[in-house]
């Protein structure tokens, strides 16, 4: 009995000390002097631009990764192809790899002297611009949809799809009317995770963006730059925005989690 309470207390204390305390402190410091200074800080042109850029990048990266993720998941589960196992392993690479390494490798590829560095000479600017930041974000948020959809596809099996086929459905109709509805919650969950990762990404984007204030600065980069410039109010206020987005994500995750009420 006592052991169980100790365990529970220990786990809760761990969470409180390591998660709630620091995040709570950010909220406290942001609104220490009332809402007005915090509101002014997040509505400054630089902050608004950073927020807009963050959302823009997510708006491109998330649909692309969703489309790619569902396609790849179906290929991995439903079709045997040479190199299947390798692809399966490589998909997880972005999770394992430090984002800084991702940023650095993109820098090497598209930078001056890189294999694709010549693109800049043709007016296609990738590094220190939006395309590079989108590429980096796509890279780091790539596995989530695949990883959520693959087990669900395995579990539902091929019976329903084959039944649809014998009933006269084309492969596309089968996908739209049978497969997609069966995996929709997994896709939603994957999308939420992808979005969270895309919005929070710091390391890789930090390197490829060049961190030009008011131009290639996302919200996480803005927080960092404000913090370094001793504008703590701005840094904290922007952090709160990020934290609120994260909170919304967690709520969405609870809704879509496999086995929850929604599925």
């Amino acid at each position: 009995m006592i052991g169980r309470y100790a365990l529970r207390f220990g786990a809760l204390g761990y969470l409180a000390f390591l998660l709630l305390l620091p995040v709570g402190l950010v909220f406290y410091r942001t609104f220490e002097h009332g809402v007005a200074p915090a509101w002014d800080a997040v509505t400054s042109p630089q902050a608004l631009h950073a927020l807009w850029l963050t959302l823009l990048i997510a708006a491109v990266a998330v649909p692309l990764n969703t489309l790619f993720g569902v396609t790849l998941a179906i290929s991995l589960v439903r079709h045997r192809f040479p190199g299947c196992g390798l692809v399966n392993a490589v998909v997880d690479l972005p999770v394992a790899l430090s984002p800084v390494v991702v940023g650095l490798s993109l820098y090497l590829l598209y930078g001056t002297g890189g294999w694709l560095g010549g693109l800049a000479g043709h007016g296609i600017k990738i590094l220190f611009a939006l395309p590079g930041m989108i590429l980096a974000t796509i890279f780091v948020s790539l596995p989530f949809v695949v990883r959520e959809v693959v087990p669900v596809l395995r579990e539902i099996g091929t019976d329903q799809e084959q039944a649809a086929e014998t009933l006269g459905a084309t492969p596309f109709t089968t996908f739209r009317r049978i497969t997609l509805p069966a995996i929709r919650w997994a896709v939603c969950y994957g999308v939420v995770l992808t979005t969270a990762r895309a919005i929070g990404e710091f390391g890789a984007v930090s390197i490829v963006s060049g961190r030009i204030e008011g131009k290639t600065e996302t919200l996480p980069l803005y927080v960092q730059s404000q913090f370094e410039g001793f504008n703590t109010t701005g840094a904290f206020a922007a952090s709160v925005v990020l934290a609120l987005i994260a909170l919304a994500t967690v709520v969405a995750m609870r809704m879509f989690r496999p086995g929850g009420e929604a599925s």
Binding site: Q160, A163, E165, T166, L167, G168, A169
Partner: protein, 318 residues
Amino acid sequence: MGITVVEVTKRFGDFVALDDVSVAIPEGSLTALLGPSGSGKSTLLRVIAGLDEPDSGQVSLGDDDVTHLPARARGVGMVFQHYAAFKHMTVWDNVAFGLKVRKRPKDEIRRRVSELLELVQLDGLSKRYPAQLSGGQRQRMALARALAVDPEVLLLDEPFGALDARVRKELRAWLRRLHDEVHVTTIIVTHDQEEAMEVAGQIVVINRGRVEQVGTPRELYESPANEFVMSFVGPVNKIGETFVRPRDISIGLEPDGESTEAMVERVVHLGFEVRAELVRDDGQHLVAQLTEEEAQALELERGLIVYVKPSRQTVFST
């Protein structure tokens, strides 16, 4: 529409699932593909459905060679062992699926679906989801769904395998009646010889990717082509190279010239029938099948000494 399979071979890697199989299924018949698991019977059904493509050979529906036609263009209705119900659709939408895919007029869909739900006795449950149905109901829904598109051929892959014994028996009888009404050429895959005998007019016995024998249930039972069929379609005693059905062992209380002494080891009462397990004085174990009446007349009980002889036996030349 009749089905003709000619010299079909199908391999999965090194495993030969179908080895030069040829079968003719007459139009309007109800045929069972009977064999142990892994015998290739399901693969043969899937080749006919178009879900698996054979490595060689030909499949025809009626006069049309459909070997390279995809399943959706073959006009077959298929029912799967684990129902393959569309889980996110109601019973109604499940049954309507094939018609909607074919873009039939709304009126026709409505009429046809309610007709079929009545036929499979699910008319009150059309708004339910598959998860809210029992196994037997799900399988009847799957059958209605397959019949909705007016298939030329109905293919059932161990349709009752996942159901409990009582429901299975009910559905068998029901399928038999349904076939008498609908008359669509039907193939049912099963590993259960009793099911095959009860339901089908013609049985194709398959073993290790080959057809062992084709015949009516009676033909298979009375004159099996080989040892495999003999022992697969019913219980059998093997005495040396001789095969004797349990019901062909006659038991007497007095010795006559040909009989052998045996002791009753166990008597099992199965309602009308009685199964007696015997051991002959040379150590040979036998199972005999009698009626309750015969057993009573003999006063069969454990330890009784009797005299047995086969009234009919089969020897296969090798």
